[in-house]
Amino acid sequence: MYGYTGKMLFVNLTTGELEDKHIPEQWYRDFIGGPALGARILYEYMPAKCDVFGEDSMVGFISGPFNGSNFFCGGRYSVVSKSPVYNGWNDASSGGDFGPSIKAAGYDGVFVKGISPKPVYIFIDSGKAEIRDAEKYWGLTSVEFEKALAADLGCKYSASYIGPGGERMSPMACVLNDYSRAAGRGGTGAVIGSKKLKGVVCTGRLPIQIADKAGLTALNKSIAEFLKDHPMLANMRTAGSSGAFLPNLMSGDTCVKNYSVSLEETGKTVQDFERIGAPKLSDEYKTESYSCAACPMRCGAEVQVREGKYKTDENSKVARPEYESLGWFGPGIMNEDPEVVITCNHLCDQYGLDTISTGGTLGWVFECFNNGVLTKEELDGIEPFWGDGDAAVELTKKICDMEGCGKILAQGSSKAADYYGKGHEYLFVASGMEIAAHDPRRAPGYIRTYQLDPSPGRHVKGGLAKANDRMTRELRYNYRITGYHDVQETCVTEYINASGLCVFTARVFPGTSIYDAYKYVTGNEMNKRDLRFFGIRAFTMRHAFNLREGLRREDFTITDRMAGRPPLKGGPTKGITLDEVRLGDNFYNAIGYYQDGTPYLDMLEITGGLECVINDLYPPEEKK
């Protein structure tokens, strides 16, 4: 089979069994890879409603066909599991080298269930897998772990693993690879921790069969030619996603003061945050660029703080914070010091905590404290006044160490509010998930995605928000045709995620290149209509996981502030209140679901590949 190894590794950590599984070839056709194929596999092999930290709970590390194909920006892999935050479907993706490496080691994905009695890791070398002892690695941060592993293995490898955050099962725990890349969201790191699994380590150089290598090479060439003069290339190369920071702050996208006010109302200006954005951040701190596998963008960068109290360790790889982290550790808490942002971000990377959830939780703590809801005593003597970077770093440390109040805050803002029994009015969460630094009041499409994506709270899912950016203001807040745009863009996103492409770039690729690449790699045709059917199938598969868990539309909640209730009093989104119900209705109408979120039977049949869902939702005896 072109584009795939055709083999999945199934591991049971309770029994220590490893098994090579050949899933039906049709599943590859129907679900391509990544979260979509992951959802199909978990739907098959993981029982419904099982304890997220129990023996039956499964976690998957899964690649896509473009991983290892050398198609540009096709290096992203995904982790999939149930989420400990909202007990529903979770997938998160990450760049770096792990996606291609897992295939070069002989597998399309690794699926793990059971709980090991002691810490272990899974080692795969060229098609042979084993469970190895990880006692000595348990408790290590990312840099420590990678260094120890490199020394012990003495060969080139790539690993996907958890830090202490995951080991201690924080629902904010991410899954790391390549020191600081992370499949951040939804707490899959905690699920891996609950299994006493440090991670999956791959090595090997098995080739991947490509259907039309010459075609793919020519396509890459034409994309390179296209990108040569494209402004995106230059921007991404120099600044990565940090380039978006100042423009977003200006447009009202960023999470100013935990999303409570507009920048204008704080009395601060964009200039006050200049050092956090491009180009200053990179000018001052950047040491070198890095990139995911097969990407000409090189949007990642390492930084160093050379002096002062936040001086970084020169021997450590310190990542330049991405836009979301800049937003939360910056204006989210009114901090103007880039070194604080770098430090908080690096702590999260080290300990394996999601920077968005950690940043969002900090934003909530800051607002609670400043409004007298949380006291100095409750925060172990720390006084997080707006803009106090030192307090932010100290709180982040406590969260990383799960020490004192950090133990509570490491559960995320929602659970912390429940624990303290207050501060719920300051939460900016969807189904308990903190939100990235993209304000739905600026691009209303986000609220539909935040609320109703099968993995809620994501800025990299869904689609209407992508279309919003191309719309005039009048159209953005006009809900008449959102369903169409929402489904259309969601389908593209599903395809990008499943195939292993990068959301930053794939939408910009010229013409039909993302379809053509699929053909060159897998040998299968793909056109616009196929993509739409695929997208609906992929979304529905992830959605069906939630339906089977008993989750219904009303279980997917957002906090009022997110919808502009009450609206902001100033700034570019002044006075905006969103109608998230209508946006959801429109989306469900357009994708072919009842308003309660149940897919229509004929829609499932026509979409195809969803027989498992049909059997559960419309059991034969009830089918009319």
Partner: protein, 223 residues
Amino acid sequence: MNGRYSRNMPALSAEECAVLGQKHVCVVGCGGLGGFLIEILARIGVGAMTVVDGDVFDVTNLNRQLLCEETLLGTKKAEAAAARVSKINSDVKIKAVTEFLTMENGSQLLEDCDLVIDALDNIDSRRILAAVCAKKDLFLVHGAIGGWFAQITVVAPGSGVLDKLYPPKAQVPNKGNPSFTPAVCASIQATEAVKLLCGKPSTLLDKLLLIDLRTLEFTKINL
């Protein structure tokens, strides 16, 4: 005269048929109403049609939208309309616009049109269409349906009739969309369109026709 149009006569005169053949109609919306409208206008022999819709077909369209076929799910409605027209009547110059009408693209889309037909499915889009028609000084044949009911009127450019039909806070509960209602509504819209194009007086200029298919009561109200 072609045999194709012989049965239009004598309901329409030969001159009228010839006039129709010179006219350019824009149908905005290719769903329930649009599908029937486009069919009728293509068969009777208008000279040119621009059909506008950015949407694609989904399963819920199958029950009533003439253009929607099982094999076309997921494809653009406007493209299906163009394909259908070229199969029915190759005399008709057909242009498919696979975008939604907006304030920005509206004027350009309606360039060179003689008449516009409102076959949209939501109030906001209808308001935009009426505004563009006012700007371009074009008559608009409005039709809307809901459950067993339909309404049709002819809107003179800038008369503001749609604003009266749809007060600012108008709420439109979902009454379903059975297949017979769009056919009735579209048929009457097409009738008024043909009258206008042939230079006959329209019966529904500044009048609202309300149809209740449960009782088969047709009520005309002066606007």
